[in-house]
């Protein structure tokens, strides 16, 4: 586990001793609208952390800001002992920060295999190593394995979601930001996905999970942050939040 020499001490902030991801005082604007107002959060190595809240609370904006995709933003993002606040998006990925966006972003016109190869580009593997990595995905996700040559956007929503997650996993990131992975997916597949997330955690990968399905998110996560109107209103262990419905009813009811 990394020990950052220059880590900021957690004064009344995130309850993580040695965080992998540490976000401080994140602010973001869409035009004049101040949509994120001082969000601070942290995720430790091998931890699953849920980020929950109503529609429009700022969850997607938070992860997009962490990836450097919101042009007008302020605040600091430290990841794996490096300050990424001013770094471009592709460098954040290079540091081991994966991201599965809300709308999956399967590239149209490309096959399943080509979409997977996109996830390997930055690794600059040789042809053989690349084929091996794709084969490993095909083993782990048989549904994708059967459709490698098919145009990816012709698959079902659930299969596309699996593809988006597999694509983000291919480079073995230290952490993956997942935005609404269970949205519009049939229940059987949601269970499969939850198992996959727990598998990733066991393998040492951290996850920051945005979910509309709050029950699911709290069941598989270690800790949770509750976001409302661009501010954090609560953080604590997921088990506590699961046991105490008052906060959930107040901030997470759709």
């Amino acid at each position: 586990m990394p020990m950052c020499a220059a880590s900021i001490s957690a004064k009344g902030g995130p309850a993580v001793a040695d965080p992998l991801l540490e976000v401080r005082d994140l602010n973001a604007w869409y035009g004049p609208a101040h949509v994120l107002q001082g969000v601070s959060l942290a995720v430790g190595p091998g931890e699953i952390v849920a980020l929950v809240g109503r529609n429009g609370a700022g969850k997607t904006t938070t992860v997009r800001s962490i990836m450097g995709l919101i042009p007008k933003r302020s605040g600091s993002v430290r990841f794996d002992c490096a300050d990424l606040s001013a770094r471009p998006t592709h460098e954040r990925f290079g540091r081991g920060l994966g991201y599965v966006p809300e709308d999956r972003r399967i590239v149209p016109g490309l096959t399943v295999r080509e979409n997977l190869v996109l996830g390997l580009l930055a690794a600059r593997l040789g042809k053989a190593a690349e084929a091996q990595a794709i084969e490993a995905v095909a083993q782990r996700f048989p549904r994708l394995g059967e459709r490698l040559g098919q145009e990816a956007i012709t698959m079902s929503g659930g299969e596309q979601q699996m593809l988006a997650i597999a694509r983000a996993m291919l480079s073995n990131p230290k952490m993956i930001l997942l935005d609404e992975p269970s949205e519009g997916i049939m229940p059987a597949l949601v269970d499969e996905m939850a198992d996959l997330f727990l598998d990733l955690k066991r393998g040492g990968t951290s996850l920051l999970l945005i979910e509309q399905n709050v029950e699911l998110a709290l069941e598989i996560s270690d800790r949770a942050y509750v976001l409302d109107q661009g501010r954090l209103v609560h953080d604590g262990s997921s088990a506590d939040l699961l046991a105490d419905p008052t906060i959930r009813d107040r901030y997470c009811a759709v």
């Binding site: 471009p88 990925f93 966006p101």
Partner: protein, 292 residues
């Protein structure tokens, strides 16, 4: 009307079409990737021809010019993207359109100042000055055969680059969704830069190849830009195959109309465009879904 006259005119049309193909490919790739309607493309074509005159005067070797010109003007294209167009991304399509429109005029004026307003002679390279005489079919000038072969080889090379290599996958991916490519670790700014350089290099090469066939003067890119747009629209914006087919089609239609109805040859390509758009509003091979 004899067969050899028709064949000769058809052949002229294919050679003309080859230049259109090169020109519209650059235009189409730049639009498909960067969303930039490049109004300076005709000026890059013209500077390609003038760079050819310059390199030829310096070295006296057409083959050196054939390599040096696309590289020189391509590097100029890199500079244009990096310092003029990049600051305009995310501001809407009309900003780069206006910028390249103005840049086209600046380039024409610079060439007028440097080389004068009169045209320049451009000799056919000696090695290619002969021709192929096929009994009963006609005479085919070697230079035009060379232009056609060169274009075919370049298009094949470009197709292999785009469809069979990882660079091609990056380009195709970034054309559809640049954001997801940056999320997956690709520096899309670099991709945009190189694609613009490639497009300008192709325009310059088209200008150089056209120089011995058409006259070299500062305004040579003005009409050809319109022709290239027509080809791109007929073929379908952003489609490589479409540009190749449409370029040939326009070249042949223009030169065949010149044979039968010379007064109509100027507008024949627009008639063709109108006809194609009536049947296929996105062009022959356009999918219409590429525009973001």
């Amino acid at each position: 009307m004899t067969l050899d006259l028709i064949v000769a005119q058809l052949f002229t049309g294919v050679a003309l079409g080859a230049v259109f193909v090169l020109l519209s490919t650059g235009l189409s790739v730049i639009f498909g990737m960067l969303g930039v309607v490049n109004f300076a493309h005709g000026a890059f074509y013209m500077t390609g021809a003038y760079a050819g005159v310059f390199v030829l005067a310096l070295t006296g070797n057409f083959w050196i010019a054939l390599v040096a010109v696309p590289v020189l003007i391509g590097v100029m294209g890199l500079g244009v993207e990096r310092f003029l167009i990049r600051p305009l991304y995310g501001r809407g399509q009309d900003y780069p359109l206006l910028l390249t429109f103005g840049l086209g005029y600046v380039l024409i004026e610079v060439v007028r100042i440097l080389f004068g307003t009169d045209g320049m002679p451009f000799e056919t390279p000696p090695l290619l000055s002969g021709g192929l005489d096929i009994e009963g079919l006609g005479y085919f000038p070697a230079y035009r055969l060379f232009v056609i072969a060169m274009t075919a080889a370049l298009m094949l090379g470009l197709w292999i680059l785009l469809e069979r290599t990882r660079y091609g996958l990056i380009i195709r991916g970034a054309a559809r969704d640049p954001e997801i490519l940056s999320v997956l670790g690709v520096d899309t700014r670099k991709v945009f830069l190189l694609v613009f350089g490639l497009g300008t290099g192709l325009a310059a090469l088209a200008g150089l190849l056209a120089a011995p066939m058409r006259s070299v003067n500062p305004e040579m890119g003005v009409a050809v830009l319109i022709e290239a747009f027509v080809v791109t629209v007929i073929g379908g914006m952003g489609s490589l195959l479409g540009g190749a087919v449409a370029g040939m089609l326009v070249g042949i239609v223009v030169s065949m109309t010149a044979l039968w109805m010379p007064e109509m040859s100027e507008i024949s390509m627009f008639a063709l465009m109108a006809l194609v758009l009536l049947v296929r509003p996105h062009g022959l091979f356009g999918r219409g879904a590429l525009a973001r």
